[in-house]
Each structure stands twice: as structure tokens, then as C-alpha cells.
């Protein structure tokens, strides 16, 4: 199976509210509310860490979920956000010029 790298889009505004994240798309002002699991993936989406590692090292220990199930859920989540243009997906590491840096989080 091919590796999946995820990065936050630059064209969004994201603010953390407790354990959750509110994200507003600059493209169409659509609002997204991320639950704690999705928030963890969002914050880890640096373009350099493969999704499998995010799930293995951050999601599974934090939420005590089975790795295969967590990965399936994570893949579905990142595909949905990518369809709205607020996450970038690639089979290779994503350069920071295309993605949001950690500075604003």
C-alpha cells in the first residue's frame, strides 16, 4: 500500500477550542468542527509525517483504538478534508511552501 502524507492547507483559519478545532476555509468560508481525534490528526499534519505513523504514534496511544480501524477512519477523514481543500494529500512528503506552517497553531 502506498504511503499517505498530509499537510494543512495555507488557505484556512484554524483555532483550537479546548480539545476541538474550528477551521474556516478561505476559499468559501465553510466552517469545519473537528473532534478531538480529528484535531490530533490536523495538528500532526505537517506534510512530513506519514499518516500511518500519526495513527500509530499519536492516535492509538491517546484514544486506545485498534490500529487498523483507526487508520481506516483517519484515511476517510483526511480524504474528506482534502476534498474541501483544507488538507493536502500526497504519496510523498509535502513541501512547506504548499502547506501551513506550525506557526499559527
Amino acid at each position: 500500500m502506498k504511503e499517505c502524507y498530509v499537510a494543512r492547507s495555507r488557505s484556512v483559519a484554524a483555532r483550537q477550542l479546548g480539545e476541538e478545532m474550528v477551521i474556516m476555509s478561505a476559499a468559501d468560508s465553510t466552517l469545519f468542527n473537528l473532534n478531538p481525534v480529528a484535531t490530533l490528526i490536523w495538528k500532526a499534519a505537517d506534510g512530513q509525517t506519514p499518516l500511518t505513523r500519526i495513527v500509530e504514534e499519536q492516535i492509538c496511544p491517546e484514544f486506545e483504538v485498534e490500529e487498523g480501524e483507526a487508520l481506516r477512519d483517519a484515511e476517510q477523514f483526511v480524504r474528506e478534508l482534502a476534498a474541501h481543500g483544507i488538507l493536502l494529500l500526497a504519496e510523498f512528503p509535502i513541501a512547506e511552501t504548499n502547506a501551513e506552517s506550525d506557526r499559527k497553531l
Partner: protein, 278 residues
């Protein structure tokens, strides 16, 4: 300025008045210039309570009317190129230079198009200073403003239609919120919903935002800050495809929610609901 002031009357009062019509909504004057006498009269009538010939415009728009009638159901595009904002929808095109404070609008003689240009321009100006537009009705009671937000059918128009005589209805459709030194202020707008009546040209400090929910009983429930932010964001009107302003709007709503009371208001659609609004 009282409602129904004509350009000629104003010119007599204010020697520096221009040939345009200055419409001041939310304390933001915008001058609309048109050489078409009939369209100017339409503008004066449409924004009658908000015409202020003595105000210094924050920007001026020269309106060029086109004969072609185009539907307005297309998505709006609002982008910035340098210091110029470019606004476009099926029924209008407009540009506004922030530095020169001037712009132009090309549209047919449809007043809904000029409504949209004004709302978009105001949304940008409000966002730049920490305010926003909200899809909410609002009214002033006892010197304080109350906003009523909700999805379509939640009761925005019903609420202000039931307002008692001592309340001043600011709008049944779109409220303007501006940041002040001491908090936030809500302003009336001429943009009407089902009430089909423009709001009052008045403003007051925001006391509370009520998230409406029609019910069999009248009850107010405090809303936690995170829930309030999510709810408010759903009702904020913002049109620009602009990273910087989107950040500002999100920050503005978060700051607003931490400084203004937000409640869920279950209400019966009758006058008793206003016992909760004081």
C-alpha cells in the same frame, strides 16, 4: 439625518455635498454615484433612512448601468489584487481600490445588485476592524441591543415582529456588529427579510445574542463559549476568498463570544417571548 432627505435638500444644508448619494449603514458611509436620475431616485428611496449627505464617505462607487439583465444565482467571487478588491457575481462586477477609496460597479438597474455590493463592501470594512455581519434579526431594548440568530424558520423575523412598543427593531435579516473600545455595538440595516421593512438607523451596545429555537415554552439556556463560537460562525456572513481576512473574522467571532453573553432562547411564537429580552 431624517428619512427621505433628497439630494437637493441636502445640498442646501451641506455646501460640499456631491452629486452622489451617501448611504451610511453601520456608521460606514459609502457614496454611490450615478448619472442615471431614475436609478438615483431608486437608491434614495431604498436606503431612505440611511442617507446621510453630510457624512465623509469611506469609499465612493461610480455606478455604470448596463442594459443586460443577468440572473443573480451565481456564486459571488470576492478577491483582492494588491490594494484592489474585485467583486463579481452574475448580475454585477465591481472594483474597489482601498488606497484611493474609490471604485466602480457595473450592473443592471436591479436594486438587489447594489444591496449585495454594499453588503460585501461592508463585510470587508467590518472585518478589517474586528467586526462582522450576522444573519440575525436584532432590536434595541432599554438602550441595549439583542441579536436573534437561527437557521431559516427558527424565528428571526417572528421575534422582531412580536417586539413590544418600547423596542426598536434594527433588522429582521442582517445585523452589523462593530467592535468598540468597551465591547461591541449592533447597528440597524435597511436589508429586510420576510418583514419587508427596513430596520431603524440606530445602534446600541450588544447585550446578548440569542440562538433561537421555537418551542412550547419560554426558556433561556446559557451556552458554553466553544458552542457559542461554533453557532455564531454558522451565522456570520463573509464573502471574501482572502486568507488574512478569514483569520480576522474567526478571531473577531472568538473575541466576541468571550465578551458577549450568548444564550439559547427557546420561545413560543407570541409576545411572552419578550419577557426574556430585557
Amino acid at each position: 439625518m431624517s428619512a427621505g432627505v433628497s439630494i437637493q435638500d441636502a445640498a442646501a444644508e451641506c455646501p460640499l455635498v456631491s452629486i452622489g448619494v451617501t448611504v451610511e449603514i453601520g456608521g460606514v458611509p459609502i457614496e454611490l454615484q450615478t448619472s442615471d436620475r431614475v436609478f438615483r431616485e431608486i437608491i434614495e428611496e431604498r436606503y431612505a433612512g440611511f442617507v446621510n449627505p453630510c457624512a465623509v464617505p469611506a469609499c465612493r462607487f461610480e455606478i455604470e448601468l448596463t442594459a443586460k439583465q443577468v440572473p443573480s444565482d451565481e456564486d459571488v467571487s470576492v478577491i483582492r489584487r494588491g490594494s484592489t478588491w474585485c467583486l463579481q457575481r452574475g448580475d454585477f462586477r465591481a472594483e474597489w481600490d482601498l488606497e484611493r477609496k474609490q471604485g466602480w460597479i457595473r450592473q443592471c438597474a436591479n436594486p438587489y445588485s447594489i444591496d449585495s455590493v454594499l453588503r460585501i463592501t461592508h463585510s470587508l470594512l467590518l472585518a478589517m476592524e474586528g467586526g462582522f455581519q450576522m444573519h440575525a434579526s436584532s432590536a434595541i431594548r432599554n438602550g441595549r441591543a439583542f441579536l436573534f440568530a437561527g437557521v431559516s424558520g427558527a424565528g428571526k423575523t417572528t421575534t422582531v415582529r412580536l417586539a413590544p412598543h418600547d423596542a426598536v427593531v434594527l433588522t429582521d435579516e442582517i445585523s452589523y456588529v462593530r467592535k468598540t473600545e468597551n465591547g461591541y455595538r449592533a447597528y440597524g440595516t435597511p436589508f429586510a427579510g420576510e418583514l419587508a421593512r427596513p430596520g431603524a438607523n440606530a445602534s446600541a451596545p450588544v447585550q446578548r445574542v440569542c440562538l433561537l429555537k421555537q418551542s412550547q415554552e419560554n426558556r433561556v439556556r446559557p451556552v458554553k463559549q466553544a458552542e457559542a463560537i461554533r453557532a455564531l460562525m454558522r451565522h456570520v456572513l463573509f464573502f471574501a476568498q482572502d486568507d488574512e481576512l478569514v483569520e480576522r473574522v474567526l478571531d473577531a467571532v472568538m473575541h466576541f463570544a468571550s465578551n458577549v453573553e450568548v444564550v439559547e432562547m427557546e420561545f413560543t411564537p407570541d409576545r411572552r417571548a419578550w419577557e426574556m429580552v430585557r
